[in-house]
């Protein structure tokens, strides 16, 4: 699907080359998303360690330590395996996800106390991930076909040039009516995203900080800050390490690997 859209947009680009002025806001928005997607292709696989700090409206904190593995799947969403190290009572709980661009994702949960692998519904897109302000749709892989785009304007954030684009989710059960993303013109990565709820009011703001480039190509943030404006709760997501090209295969993302994930 991604390939078709890419091809389509390339054709669109070439035919527009002679008539650049005729590019609509929708075409420009899509072109930015396609370019961002193109620049992030070929990472093959990655292994990460991260820490989430959850803050309630009184400022009380709790933390979660998470390890993740992800496998790039060409022409579809990625495969990922997430393992929880803390809180200690859920240690060893693991989550396997096969994301798809338009059809429903496939998700399994491993419960270590029962040694049970449970297929779970993926329609819970807007639900909180581990009690945090990140929802399942916020942490799942970003695919071009998941949204309809519209370029709004050029802008600056902290002296960095950005494109401001609007994204309307096209997949079912999204908790959002729209997102406004500030995309860095050099990295083609978001510096800030605003999320609007089903009543079209501003729900959350995500800012991404401390970008570093890996393998001379892929930009990854070191810290994410998600603030919920309606509940005053917030979550910090610290990416402690990224490791690319680990030689993972789909065998590292099956139900057997889920059962022995530690």
């Amino acid at each position: 699907m991604k390939g078709i859209i890419l091809l389509f947009s390339l054709i669109a680009f070439s035919s527009l080359a002679g008539a650049a002025l005729a590019e609509t806001a929708e075409e420009k928005g899509l072109a930015i998303a396609v370019e961002a997607d193109k620049r992030d292709q070929g990472w093959t696989d990655q292994e990460t360690t991260s820490k989430m700090i959850l803050r309630n409206s009184q400022g009380a904190e709790s933390t979660r330590e998470i390890r993740g593995k992800a496998l790039e799947v060409e022409g579809d969403g990625d495969k990922s395996l997430t393992i929880f190290d803390t809180p200690r009572d859920v240690k060893g709980t693991a989550f396997l996800s096969f994301t798809h661009t338009l059809k429903a994702d496939e998700q399994w949960l491993y419960l270590p106390a029962l040694k049970r692998v449970k297929r779970i519904s993926s329609s819970n897109k807007s639900g909180p991930f581990m009690g945090s302000e990140f929802s399942f749709e916020d942490i799942s892989s970003q695919e071009v076909a998941k949204y309809k785009y519209k370029f709004i304007k050029d802008d600056k954030i902290n002296d960095r040039e950005v494109f401001v684009i609007e994204r309307i989710p096209q997949y079912k059960k999204s908790g959002y009516t729209k997102q406004i993303a500030w995309i860095d013109k050099e990295m083609y990565q978001p510096l800030k995203i605003e999320f609007y709820d089903r009543k079209k009011s501003l729900l959350k703001t995500l800012t991404q900080h401390d970008y570093k480039q890996y393998l001379n190509k892929y930009w990854r943030p070191g810290r994410l800050e998600m603030v919920n404006h309606q509940t005053s709760k917030s979550t910090t997501l610290l990416w402690k390490s990224y490791k690319f090209k680990n030689g993972f295969s789909s065998r590292d993302f099956d139900r057997n690997s889920l059962k022995r994930a530690r």
Binding site: S62, T63, K115, K118, R262
Partner: protein, 396 residues
């Protein structure tokens, strides 16, 4: 002995040992609202359990070793005071297969109310009457991972007997179970070698498992006439028959619906019968604009032996309501009832849990038995056993 020495050396020599220990210590207290049917029973029971876990991996994660001992001390029930090796196993991961040797636990199936297909491990019944706690099972498990599904082969060289509450314990049969005098159909007794085979696969929205087991049934039958145990107390003796069981478990995941089916055919003691659990789980996500989910669980439990069934669930309906708050403390509550369709017997249960500190979890569990006739063969013994249990677990 040499084996244990090797393990001890392995544990001590690991420079990363501090990171590889985890586990929990739990304190619980159970309160029964009525006196027991027997004068030897109590109304309040306190207990402590300890389950550490040691894990070590090497060979780039291709090999690992896991050791999980378990022990519990119970204030009154001498049979609930017990220890077990939940896991002591070595795992080797190959490109398209996995080999696991040692003692461990295997879970099969999809349903919530009862676990018909799940026959590898023996139930550690003194832990909880819901049968979800299992004893470690010695096994060799070889899994072949193919594009068309995973095939698991099991060789189970040693049989574990079910645990039962002692004379002073609650939630037991009126005549207590004499676990010191056990009969086996096989002359090899506990050393009979059992075999099992399972194919499991995921096809789009469908998760399917097909299994066969050949060996000693984990579910005992009992002598019908009470006989004195070693202390002279009249009791029933367990009998373990050989069985052949074929099982099928299917789950279809369609949006917020989980459709579930477990069916078994079992040949045992010159009898052949079928049993099934069928139902669904539907979840209402983000109710009333909150982060809470409410799940509805409905299952029908069937056994074609009807009233001759060895379980009380021969024509029953289970209804459950699960509230998940999705908050930072993982608050959840599950309320359920299993109702017999032919009489008035009802089993109510409530399970609620919440993290109360970074390393501490509080769990409250209550069960109520209502409408049970004094002549109900399988449930009459529990008719005065309504209880509430509070457990505080520390996790490290």
């Amino acid at each position: 002995m040499k084996f244990f020495l090797t393990i001890t050396l392995l544990i001590c020599s690991s420079s990363l040992w501090a990171n590889e220990w985890s586990g929990n210590i739990s304190f619980d207290t159970k309160y029964f609202s009525q006196d027991g049917l027997s004068a030897s029973q109590f109304k309040e029971y306190g207990s402590i359990s300890f389950q550490p876990e040691w894990f070590h991996e090497w060979d780039g994660g291709k090999q690992s070793f896991t050791f999980v001992p378990f022990t519990r001390w119970d204030q009154h029930d001498e049979k609930r005071t017990h220890s077990d090796i939940r896991e002591l196993s070595w795992l080797k991961v190959f490109k398209e297969s996995e080999l696991r040797v040692g003692t461990g636990k295997v879970y099969w199936g999809v349903s919530e109310s009862q676990h018909l297909v799940d026959v590898i491990n023996q139930t550690d019944l003194v832990e909880n009457m819901d049968g979800e706690d299992k004893l470690g099972q010695p096994m060799i498990n070889y899994a072949l991972i193919n594009d068309w599904g995973t095939v698991d082969f099991f060789v189970l060289p040693y049989f574990r007997e079910r645990t039962f509450p002692g004379v002073n314990g609650r939630l037991r049969t009126s005549y207590h179970i004499d676990t010191d005098n056990v009969t086996y159909e096989s002359s090899d007794k506990q050393n009979h070698i059992d075999y099992a085979l399972r194919w499991s696969h995921s096809l789009g929205d469908w998760d399917i498992g097909l299994s066969h087991f050949n060996g000693t049934s984990r579910d005992p039958a009992f002598t019908t006439t009470p006989t004195p145990d070693n202390n002279g107390v009249l009791s029933l003796r367990p009998i373990y028959y050989l069985m052949q069981q074929t099982g099928l478990d299917i789950q279809a995941t369609k949006d917020a619906w989980l459709w579930k089916l477990e069916v078994i055919n079992r040949s045992i003691n010159n009898d052949n019968y079928n049993a099934a659990t069928a139902g669904f789980e539907y979840t209402f996500y983000s109710i009333l604009e909150s982060s809470s989910d409410i799940g509805l669980v409905v299952e029908y439990l069937y056994d074609d032996r009807n009233s001759k069934a060895s379980t009380p669930f021969e024509d029953d309906l289970m209804l459950g309501l699960r509230w998940t708050k999705n908050d930072e403390n993982d608050t959840s509550v599950l309320v359920g009832v299993i109702a017999d369709r032919d009489d008035s017997s009802r089993l109510y249960s409530i399970e609620a849990s919440r993290r109360v500190a970074e390393n501490m979890k509080l769990t409250i569990e209550a069960r109520l038995f209502t409408g049970i006739a004094a002549n109900d063969l399988l449930l009459a013994s529990f008719r005065q056993d309504d209880f509430i249990q509070v457990e505080l677990g520390y996790y490290f």
